[in-house]
């Protein structure tokens, strides 16, 4: 089976401009495959390289070496994102537009037919419970409402692959519940979900497979149940071991 998301020997280096020379390795030869229908958790402490990986997949950052494909198309091609939904960690939307206008704009970028776009806008606004506020400018929304706009825009094209960057980190309880509902629903529809998170309990219940990243390197990848069984520990304990915690005491 061809993977939906394929990363081969991906390396991302940043020049340290402040220091004048030297490079920081954000990702060190990462290889990863995610198959159709999987809910895949991408774990790691802050600075591990999770967001950098997602940024490469979305074409925001150019890799120093290696390649990445979505649906078999190089991520540098805009068409690789035709069947993709993306929810960023924080809300970044045009605040002078209403939720309805924003979704209509994104639907046009996906070249959805007008009738289909309107049907999807109605359904998604109902799903994220923003129907009553659909014509108000986003700048008048509460933070929780703005985050639900984020969820709505990620689903506008009925994506086959949903990339979520720490989807529940800044959400209110309703938003968190909606994210869980959406992940379950997409799983039921055979869609693929790739998400980075710090909420290990959530990952353990939601994911089929996980990968743990630390300092830009892939430490482990596999089914959640197999990892827990193999290490005789909870996912949280497996995670802590993989990132070297507690640190091994150095001999005096």
């Amino acid at each position: 089976m061809d993977p939906i998301l394929n990363i081969d020997n991906l390396r991302v280096e940043y020049r340290n401009r402040e220091l004048g020379q030297g490079v920081t390795v954000a990702l060190a030869d990462l290889s990863l495959r995610v198959n159709a229908g999987e809910v895949f958790g991408f774990l790691g402490p802050n600075g591990a390289g999770k967001t950098t990986t997602i940024q490469v997949l979305l074409g925001f950052v150019q890799p120093t070496r290696g390649s990445a494909q979505l649906f078999g198309v190089d991520v540098r091609e805009p068409t690789a994102r035709q069947r993709l939904g993306y929810l960023p960690e924080l809300t970044y939307y045009y605040k002078f537009l209403s939720a309805e206008e924003l979704l209509r704009f994104y639907a046009r970028l996906f070249r959805l037919a007008r009738g289909e776009a309107e049907r999807r806008i109605d359904a998604i606004l109902k799903l994220v419970e923003l129907e009553s506020a659909r014509r108000r400018p986003i700048k008048t929304y509460s933070k929780g409402m703005q985050q639900r706009v984020g969820l709505a825009q990620a689903l506008i094209n009925n994506p086959d692959l949903l990339i979520l960057d720490e989807p529940t980190s800044g959400l209110d309880p309703l938003g968190r519940m909606k994210v869980r509902e959406i992940i379950d629903r997409l799983r039921g529809e055979g869609k693929t979900v790739f998400f980075s998170s710090h909420e290990l309990g959530e990952v353990e219940t939601a994911c089929d497979r996980v990968a743990i990243l630390h300092q830009g390197q892939l430490k482990v990848v596999g089914p959640v149940a197999a990892l827990v069984r193999e290490h005789q520990a909870s996912l949280e304990q497996v995670f802590l071991r993989m990132i070297g915690y507690p640190p091994t005491p150095t001999p005096a």
Partner: protein, 258 residues
């Protein structure tokens, strides 16, 4: 290039929902209306002078609108990170650059039409004449000039760090070209080498924005310019706009967004 039009419409919506845009817009329209309708001693020369002032005001206002609106487009997208969900869609960076250009240029066009309508109506009520061809040529070529300025501001917004510095520099460059651009070749003649070659090179490299200035046609009721000259000026604007958009795209296409 399917994403260009939706991006342009969002740019137009943003500009027409901003309060600062309306302040300049209403102010210019009001001053044009007032100055154009004033009559001093029924003297034709004073009336012509006022017409000239009105048109100068329209030129300055549209330049300010074009530069300030365009200069903040891409920096604001990056600063507010709205560029992230936008480029997570099947949209290329080239489409973003062209969409932003088109949106700003269309918004300038709408402002220009409104200003010329005010000016035309006021002039027509006094002179009982409506030289449509003159108006069309003057408006069209000013809009073409704004295309170059908008593309220049867009390219500048990727070169200069702050939108304010970009806006100031583009405004100074555009004003300098309008004021002294046509005299650079004569200045070059008076200079020793290598300054002469340098100034000549500058003369031929700069977009001559002053070529698009047909205000005298409206002020003095002169005959319209030849259509071949009008078409040549349009092509000239197209070429420079394309060059500046290319510079913007080359600068933007591999730039990290975060």
């Amino acid at each position: 290039m399917n994403a260009v039009w939706p991006i342009a419409t969002v740019v137009v919506k943003e500009l027409y929902r901003r309060k600062d845009f309306y302040v300049l817009f209403v102010l210019t329209a009001l001053i044009t209306l007032l100055m154009g309708s004033v009559t001093f001693f029924h003297d034709d020369r004073i009336a012509r002078y006022l017409k000239e002032l009105c048109l100068l005001l329209i030129w300055v206002s549209t330049l300010v609108i074009a530069i300030t609106a365009t200069a903040r487009q891409l920096p604001a997208e990056r600063e507010q990170r709205t560029i992230l969900p936008l480029l997570a869609k099947p949209v290329s960076r080239g489409e973003v650059v062209v969409g932003k250009f088109l949106g700003c240029w269309l918004a300038c066009g709408v402002a220009l039409v409104v200003f010329y309508l005010f000016f035309g109506v006021v002039s027509a009520t006094r002179e009982h004449a409506w030289p449509l061809t003159n108006y069309f040529q003057a408006l069209w070529l000013q809009w073409c000039m704004l295309a170059i300025v908008v593309a220049m501001s867009l390219a500048g917004s990727l070169v200069f760090a702050a939108p304010s510095s970009n806006a100031t520099i583009v405004f100074l460059v555009a004003s300098a070209i309008l004021l002294v651009g046509r005299h650079l070749n004569t200045v070059a003649l008076t200079l020793p080498e290598p300054a002469q070659t340098l100034v000549y090179a500058l003369y031929f490299a700069l977009p001559h924005l002053e070529l698009f200035d047909l205000r005298d046609l409206l002020v003095h009721d002169w005959a319209p310019i030849a259509w071949w000259a009008w078409a040549a000026a349009t092509l000239y604007a197209l070429a420079y706009t394309w060059v500046f958009l290319l510079v913007a795209w080359l600068s933007f296409r591999r730039r990290p967004l975060v």
